[in-house]
Amino acid sequence: MTDLDTTLTAGTTLTAKDFASDQEPKWCPGCGDHAVLQQLKNVMPELGTAPENIVFISGIGCSSRLPYYMATYGVHGIHGRALPMATGLKTSRPELTVWVATGDGDALSIGGNHFIHTLRRNPDLNVVLFNNEIYGLTKGQYSPTSKLGLRTVTSPVGVIDHPFNTAALVLGAGGTFFARALDRDGKFLRSMLKRAAMHKGTSLVEIYQNCPIFNNGAFEAFASPEKKEETALFLEQGKPLVFGKDRKKGIVLDGMTPVVVDIDKEQVSADDLWIHDESDLNKASILARFFDDMSVTEDFLPRPFGVFYAASHTTYEDALTAQIADAQAEGCGTLEELLRGDNSYEIR
């Protein structure tokens, strides 16, 4: 089980189809989950890892059915516990590529404790968080990311608990990678999944995913071509933060405060605009606060998509492996030594 060559045999080429299992997805027609599954299958061949060395782990919820549809190894676990299962597997078998499919209920509600602790430990997992701001599988109750005021079967007169801000939560918990994508934007989603796969450490990709049955249009502001120009901000490393029609709006930092400027009208030069730097935790933390509820305010900051933050830190499994290697520097313990212990005595 050690020193496995986890890559594909030379000369082997796989396609997205090779990653499709023989099970038919059972998601509703029009569900954003189909799009995410497709992009995952698309990105797999590009990563060069043999299917037998890939494991998909999930919890419970609509999105957690995903492992059944991938022709890799997979476990559909219990509600909220996908991350510890993935952590145990990765810690025990660091050479495997481990993906986690989870949702806003699974990861942020019942699995909230595991979520923050996984992020601070930083095992090398690729976590795909399907955020549809609703409980789908149990038929439409509000979730920890549902917007204030949302009317659901369990909030008939509107949600009164404040939603989690996933980006802020991830960064606050010490996460080393956070990106956001949208189900409908396949090409961009695929690039984010690839970035997550390349990042060593816990990569968290939040996908705004439409639930056509219970929360249809929750992300319409970022999906519709006419609206998204004004509402979505696409982050590119080393590039200024610009958005809007003809990319004429920009963000400048006034001290710690982000301000939207009209580039032409206010004659802002490119140098004055906020230049995106994925390695800057402070800037990423400010970006995470671009979280206005656009349905209640006109004066909003655009919602960022892309890689907010990516930092290289030692992974949990590497640190543990190093401690073990250190302990074994002068040889591994034998069964005989184990049974004898270091406090034995002889009766003659």
Binding site: V55, G74, P84, T87, I347
Partner: protein, 626 residues
Amino acid sequence: MTDTKTTTKQVNVTSKTSVSVLFAGDSGDGMQLTGTQFANTVAVSGSDLNTFPNFPSEVRAPAGTIAGVSGFQLQFGSKPVYTPGARFDVMIAMNSAALKANLKDLHRGGIIIAGTEGFDEKNLRLAGYPQGANPLEDGSLSNYIVFPVPVLQLTREALKDCGLNHKEIDRCKNMFVLGLLYWLYSLPIDTTVEMLHAKFRKNAQLAEANITAIKAGYFFGDETEIFANLGRFDIAPQKQRGVYRRVTGNEACAIALTAAAKKAGLKLFLGSYPITPATEILQTLAKMKKWGVKTFQAEDEIAGIVTSIGAAYGGALAATNTSGPGLALKTEALGLAVILEIPLVVINVQRGGPSTGLPTKPEQSDLLMAMYGRHGEAPLPIVASCSPVDCFYTTYEAARIAVEHMTPVICLSDGYLALSSEPWKVESPDNLCEIKPRFQPERNPEDPAYLPYKRDERHVRSWAIPGTRGLEHRIGGLEKQHETGNVSHDPENHALMTKLRAEKIARIAESIPLQTIDNGPEKGDLLILGWGSSYGAIKTAVEQALAEGLSVAHAHLRYLNPFPKNLGEMLGNFKKVLIPENNNGQLIHLIRDTFLIAPEGFSKVKGLPFNEMEILAKITDLIKEH
């Protein structure tokens, strides 16, 4: 060290077959260290022994109070010793609270060695004695042999020139007491002297002071007149030649998991969350990195077991350890392990419940939770350890069953076994049975499809781990189709899978040993059927009952689910069956259910283990009734 080997005065030396000693004092008096050192010396001398620490659950309870009393009890003897002693023969009481808390368990006529400084006005008041009353002076201890010894004063005198400050000198008073006990039981001081040299390698002054205190205590016994009538005692060795080590139950569990992994050719993974009294298993394994052991201190009990399930899916020998409240939190995940049919060892070190209950006190009240505490039909094997050393063999067996039968196994211990210790003749690797994982080999594209839930004649499925070419498959908590493992909601299939999962566990009875009678006749008036940590008390009581000519036998169950195949027949060979349990009667439910017999129950739910006197009294009652 030769100076302590020859004593200057001739005093009577009385041979004893066994003696039980309690070291009791304030939490800060170093009683655990003193007791442990005494136990090590006794072990090396070749006596059999059994130890049990008894300390407050508070880290630093108020000094001088009953709540702050810390005790260390041990029994040692020239015959096999199975318990720390129902009552003790000798009590070291470093203060009045220690005396007050433990006097009820001292044999009438027993010896009290009292550190007189702990009986001053302040200590007496903290211990709750009435104004002006001092048990050392008021004649209330006339049923005991009392030796008031000014331990602190004598330690200070012995160490007045050692160069340490007052506080450091006063801390050596436990070593003075230890020296006195070594004298009283004709034991050498060498083992402790070696330990002190090792412990204070970087502070020779401290090492010397402690050694001086031990010698002072030893010579005090020799020189003072107060022990002239009592004399000294001598306990002949019991153990045969060989290499031994002393282990607690928790240490033995940890060693067993690592040994089982080695023997099976697997990596060990322990996902765990600290909980009294199970934590030492995690602590011990965390130190075993040299053996490649991976421990994971999880954020909670659930993550403890779920990380282990992940590791088991990946092909590790995976385990988690906990106590009652933790097992409750793990139950949903245990159901997952049952339906995934993967190996997992769950060690539950039972404590008094419900809820937080009595965290530091033992109880056997999780048996029915282990048996039934999951939603749905979710059977799994249960084994229980019966002594600190047996924790090794039972945990090893749990790992064997888990790996060879692809199932989670609950291995029950309790707070008594966890912290008790006894000598263990070092086991040879060759004596440990083989553990054979059933890994599914690689599959070529032209081979038939891999069926994750295809079973062998024992209904056991194979272990197909990630990284194996051609076996990519998906499993989960949803009900699975027979053989293919695909999600299935078919009613007939669910009935079949439920039956197969139950049958798989039942068939484990084919691979476990038959139940044996531990002691006594194969047929007779009364069988005591025990499980878990009551072994020592029952064993001792039955030995005595047999010596008195009673028709009584003792059988002790390691396998609680499934039961050994011959158990029913064995129970039928006795007119009466007595089942003592530290609960309200749990095994008795299972026995009644399985065999449709009416055994006699004997419950003790006090957060205390049974003692041999209680069992013996019950035996006598039952046989007389009959």
